[in-house]
């Protein structure tokens, strides 16, 4: 019976909101510890100054900006899965788009902290915002850094609207199953009086489609703008026209890896194995082959254009990055292998349907993507046009603590969310269940 299939979806998803397990609480506790560590590190940096970090000229951008670029990139797969695959009417997105969208919002929030942490004088960050003021000073709208502020803020706002709109019918379902207490009040307020009436669905469907259509070009633009923070400068290793598509593909690649990293433990912790079958992970692995192929092409074309251009500084920098630095070259080769060879292992059905392998590969892909950002940012700055200014950078304890803080902060928000709101889009899962029942 169709109604029993729909009831089963409700029971399983609402069941995942029940009392958390010990493992869940331990994970939350670990996140809390990492957050505390980061807060202490930031207090030290705030009062002592930026001297506690390993930043120095010429390496004035390092781990903080690496974290920013990495976490903005993570945010991209969420919108790819929820908006772009929605426009392509890809059915397999229906079970995973909520977690992917959650990841998007919390990853941007995490990313957004790092330019502030990096600023040093954080108390004047609002000078970046366009607002009328008595000094008649406005941001320079020709600067990629100001584009970045506008693009990332827009992405956060639009993704949040898109995410919340999709969540409303599911909150209403949970509201109707919740008897009383603070959760009932929360769901009453956030469901906005949703009744499932045709008129609501009609406008909701059009609004969701409009937002999906608007957010899709935004995905492409945001990471392109982030890449222009680098590509608009004249630094070797940054000044490249391939940067925008290269960054976007890398962002989606790392985001997909993060969705897999989050979902494999979550499906077990929330007992969602029946709804989140191996099929969904397999589809994401297949998509990673595609993004990994674009990355492979980008790496190849970067090396080829250096060789064919035969420009002195470009050539010496590329040789330094690949072979000349005992500190950085091993990282470079780890990145190349992690982002080119590793995704290609997903061509094997046996490997891409093995969740343990997929989890390990996804974590490695994320490490490789973080290191790729590190190589782009730090190694390029460490070896510029003047040999007298060449330097080696290593992150200090404060920077490491704040990088760990990002992981703790992100997963703390995700873990809190999945116990408060449905982590599977229930109305879409019900549609799927009905369609399967009809077959």
């Amino acid at each position: 019976m169709a109604n029993s299939v729909m009831k089963q979806v409700d029971d399983e998803v609402i069941g995942s909101l029940s009392r958390p397990s010990i493992g869940y609480m331990a994970a939350l506790g670990l996140c809390g510890f990492l957050i505390t560590l980061g807060v202490i590190a930031y207090i030290v940096q705030y009062f002592v100054g930026m001297g506690v970090t390993g930043l120095s000229i010429p390496i004035a951008w390092a781990v903080y900006i690496t974290n920013f670029v990495f976490w903005v990139g993570i945010a991209h797969a969420g919108t790819l899965i929820s908006a772009i695959l929605f426009l392509f009417r890809t059915k397999w997105r229906n079970r995973i788009n909520r977690v992917a969208e959650t990841m998007t919002i919390f990853a941007i929030m995490t990313a957004g902290l790092f330019p502030l942490i990096h600023l040093g004088r954080v108390w004047v960050f609002w000078w970046l915002l366009p607002y009328p003021n008595w000094r008649h000073l406005w941001p320079n709208f020709k600067s990629p850094l100001v584009w970045d502020v506008i693009a990332v803020s827009t992405y956060l706002i639009v993704s949040t609207l898109f995410f919340y709109l999709g969540l409303i019918p599911d909150i209403a379902t949970v509201r109707d199953r919740t008897k009383s207490g603070w959760r009932k009040t929360l769901y009453n307020i956030t469901s906005l009086g949703w009744t499932g009436k045709y008129d609501q669905w009609r406008h909701y469907a059009r609004g969701y489609l409009a937002l999906a259509a608007l957010v899709t070009p935004l995905v492409i633009s945001v990471h392109s703008v982030v890449s222009w923070d680098f590509a608009m400068s004249l630094v070797q290793g940054w000044h490249s026209t391939i940067f925008a598509p290269y960054f976007v593909a890398g962002a989606i690649h790392s985001g997909l890896a993060m969705v897999i990293t989050m979902l494999i433990p979550l499906r077990k912790a929330l007992r969602l194995e029946r709804l989140l079958t191996v099929y969904y992970f397999e589809q994401m692995a297949l998509l990673m082959i595609f993004t990994g192929s674009i990355l492979t092409y980008s790496y190849a074309i970067e090396a080829f254009s250096t060789w064919s251009g035969n420009e002195l500084f470009d050539m010496q920098f590329s040789l330094f990055r690949a072979f000349g630095s005992p500190a950085y070259s091993p990282i470079f080769w780890f990145v190349i292998l992690g982002n080119t060879i590793l995704p290609m292992t997903f061509f094997s059905k046996r490997l891409r349907t093995n969740l343990t392998y997929l989890l390990v590969a996804a974590i490695l892909a994320n490490v490789a993507m973080w290191l790729e950002r590190f190589v782009i940012i730090v190694v390029s700055l460490s070896h510029d046009y003047l040999p007298s200014s060449w330097a080696i950078y290593a992150p200090r304890a404060v920077e490491i603590a704040l990088s760990l803080f990002a992981i703790g902060f992100f997963f703390f928000l995700v873990l809190s969310f999945v116990k408060l709101f449905p982590s599977i889009p229930m109305s879409e899962a019900k549609e799927d269940a009905l369609a399967q029942e009809e077959k």
């Binding site: 019976m1 584009w147 506008i150 706002i157 109707d176 009086g193 499932g196 045709y198 609004g207 608007l214």
Partner: protein
């Protein structure tokens, strides 16, 4: 003038629910609506009211955002005519980026607010006559018709396979 009555039918089977709507449409009933736990846009061709103005508002918002952000870039640059990066103070090519982001930002905000307003969302509680089964596993049809046509409507909905049919 005829008295109007409300007929309410509950379905636990999607096919029967669609059949019920078809029957009402074929019998030329004009004032009915539907409820359900899944997206009902697929039944739009069976409903008396179709379409939505949300996209119009989204487009208007997007155009407004494009113009506003572009003008903001131009006029704020004219306040302080400092040449940076070797470009004139008012350089339209770099201004494409803020204008593009502004287009999407304002279009999205307009689309979201339009959904809230047009779909009458924003209350902290559903109406008193709301049936919570509509968010779980039941579909519903509510019909307003003349007293004289109510019996026929009840019969049509029962024949379609409604589990419950009530009239008020």
């Amino acid at each position: 003038m005829d008295n109007f009555v409300q007929v309410k039918a509950v379905f636990f089977d999607y096919e029967c629910f669609v059949e019920g709507l078809k029957s009402l449409k074929d019998a030329h009933y004009m004032d009915y609506t539907a409820f359900g736990p899944t997206n009902l846009h697929e039944i739009e061709h069976l409903m008396p009211v179709k379409g939505s103005a949300v996209r119009v508002y989204a487009t208007l918002g997007a155009i407004l955002g494009l113009i506003t952000f572009w003008l903001m870039c131009i006029f704020t640059s004219r306040i302080y005519m400092l040449i940076t990066g070797g470009k004139p103070a008012v350089s339209n090519v770099p201004f494409i980026i803020p204008a593009y982001e502004g287009t999407i930002l304002t279009g999205s905000i307009f689309a979201f607010i339009a959904v809230l307003i047009i779909a009458a969302l924003g209350s902290h509680l559903p109406p008193a006559d709301y049936d919570p089964r509509y968010s779980e596993n039941a579909y519903g049809i509510e019909l307003l018709c003349e007293d004289t046509r109510a019996d026929k409507a009840v019969k049509l909905l029962e024949d379609a396979g409604a589990t419950e049919v009530n009239r008020r």
